[in-house]
Symmetry: none
Subunit: 213 residues, 4 copies
DNA sequence: TATGAATGAGTTTTCATTCAT
DNA sequence: GATGAATGAAAACTCATTCAT
């Protein structure tokens, strides 16, 4: 076995692997686009491969079926989302103002993350529940994480005396609900992208004070 | 020139029409059940007709396809929902307390309506968007009606001085959002049916005061 | 048993039978229309009964199926056609001129008969062969009758010396062929109804002289 | 932005295209056979694919439905027919004898073409009109071409003085009619294949001289 | 007897998946 | 490994025919 030959084959192997990975990513991107455009259920494997002019067979070399590529997309989305929110903000706020600022900061961060994942976010927000019981459950879990996070902070605030006594579970769910609704409008295009930050501030304000006088 | 055979008794005509209507309603009821049980997309026409033991052909005499029966169900649902909320509460509240009470009353009413439509409500809340772009749009319109309703009242309250100045559009959307989230939990079974009223009260409280101290 | 009652029931019976016959005829007429309009194969029983606003079931009280009503129509058509042509013109022509006149007379008679059966004639001329092997055969038989008739006269003429020697079988077929083609154009609407007689004369002339000088 | 995976060899592409074309042709051939054997209307897609043992799906990858494959067959037939008759015989005949010979030559050519297309010819001659209003129209157009062709030559002959004055439109139609009738008998099996040429001669003779003495 | 709602066997049609090239 | 033609199981859909009213 010649040295040179071996090197070439080494190179070849790498480039093959890279090409393969590139195809996989291209398929996922295409799937995301098509899912958003036509809806998950109306999308056929042929639509996905047609989007990037790749053979039907190629799809099946990379994914088991349509459900699998949706799952892969979801995993990617969930990972990037949780990566951002798992490292809980180290110093807990101690005072209404600090809490308010922390909330705003969290919202800003969320907006940023979602902005870069628009397509996937929209896909799963709107259609996630209808894809699969399994995926529905995973989605619910993610939302639950946010509820838990909100509740954790809210309970702190109540304990610290800078939030009023309330059913923190329900209120946390409410907060997540209003955020989701806003998200839906934003990603769905009903809200101008530049007004998102303002809206976030308004929501935080509303959460802290309600609309009462 | 049309030939007209011997007249048929009015009686016969009526009984035929009634039978037809009964079958149609039975199909819709069956479809609702099956959609809820298996999900819209996993449901086949054969499942629906199997549910009430009518022929496959019967289905197609009444509806063009699966989409059509879902549309009919939605229309029925939307109608009963709007019927309840269109006759706007005659005397507008004039004061924070009255407003709060009116809100609670509205929530109670909504709960009542939805309780009797549990299945359909859940179906459309969870899967509506995934059925069809068209149905998705209709769904969005309904939600929008509630946003408009909320905003109408909120603007009144602000003008009357018993609600603080705020972006009433965003806040109204937020209110609808928190209601939807609660609904989802409730209809999905995460919340005990008997606690719904309490939750409603908590939400109203939250909307008026926020969680601030 | 009262005399009067019996008489009434007698009358009743007759009117029932008449009504029944009327319905049957109306169905046949309707079928003829729809067959011509949509083609035999594209016609559904529901189209036929829809044409005269009669119940589906009624159709089956009168005819076994779609094929049966087509058969009845054909029988009616064939009968009226043959009735006209079976009583062979008593005195055989004896001379070219007489023969020519007899041909013209026969053509005129055919035109008259067909004019009153336009619809059916068109139907069977165009679609007869495609309905059924059986009906195709019946149709072929009718045409054959005309060929035989033509050949009979032609052979006579040849024997009598006022037609040239020729393959009378082939020539007779040719005569029937040209007549059919003309018929198709006429009934199909390509030829003005008022020019049919002229065309008939032209054809007879052509048959006798050819187009040679 | 389209992603394009690794290029496929030209070779592969060609072999795929060839395979596809082969399948398409096989389907058309099978359809022709089955249509002739069972009749167009009695033929099901399953019969066609069964004839050559390909999957039902394969059919639908190549044709929209049964009507489409019949249309393709017709186009193919019409093309091969017109290809033979469009290049109008260069030197126009100038004299009765030449005209007669040209006619015989044309008939011989037609017989030759049709002999090699027997099945399709019979199919469309007998059932074409019943397939579809559209196909019926196309069929009529083809016949019209022949009428036009005949009329062109006849008009020439009249102008040249070697055909008598007559309504050339009607006579041309008649010529086509007699040819069609002969065709029907021939292809349908009523006439021995070997006698076709004789019959053609007889028809030409008849057209030139009629049966008059 | 007439009716038209219901029926379901029989076709068409789709599309995820396989597999020869 | 990539490809896209072929596949066929499974679903949708049709419509002649039955049958309760």
């Amino acid at each position: 076995m010649l040295y040179k030959g071996s090197m070439v084959s080494e190179l070849r192997k790498r480039s093959d692997a890279e090409r393969r990975e590139r195809t996989r990513l291209a398929l996922m991107e295409a799937a995301g686009k098509v899912f958003v455009r036509r809806g998950y259920h109306a999308t056929q494997v042929s639509h996905i491969v047609g989007e990037i002019d790749v053979g039907q067979g190629t799809f099946y070399r990379h994914f088991d079926d349509k459900r699998a590529i949706a799952g892969a997309l979801f995993d990617q989305f969930a990972e990037s989302l949780l990566a951002e929110f798992t490292p809980m903000s180290a110093p807990l706020p101690s005072g209404v103002e600090q809490y308010r600022e922390a909330s705003l900061a969290a919202a800003a961060r969320a907006v940023q993350v979602l902005r870069s994942q628009r397509q996937l976010a929209l896909l799963f927000l709107r259609q996630g529940a209808s894809i699969d019981l399994d995926l529905d459950g995973q989605l619910a879990q993610i939302l639950d994480r946010f509820v838990v996070l909100a509740k954790f902070h809210l309970d702190r605030a109540i304990a610290g005396g800078f939030a009023r006594e309330c059913d923190s579970e329900i209120v946390s769910q409410a907060i997540v609900g209003m955020a989701l609704r806003q998200l839906d409008l934003w990603l769905g295009g009903s809200i101008d992208d530049r007004r998102v930050e303002t809206a976030a501030r308004e929501l935080v304000e509303f959460a802290f004070r309600g609309f009462g006088p």
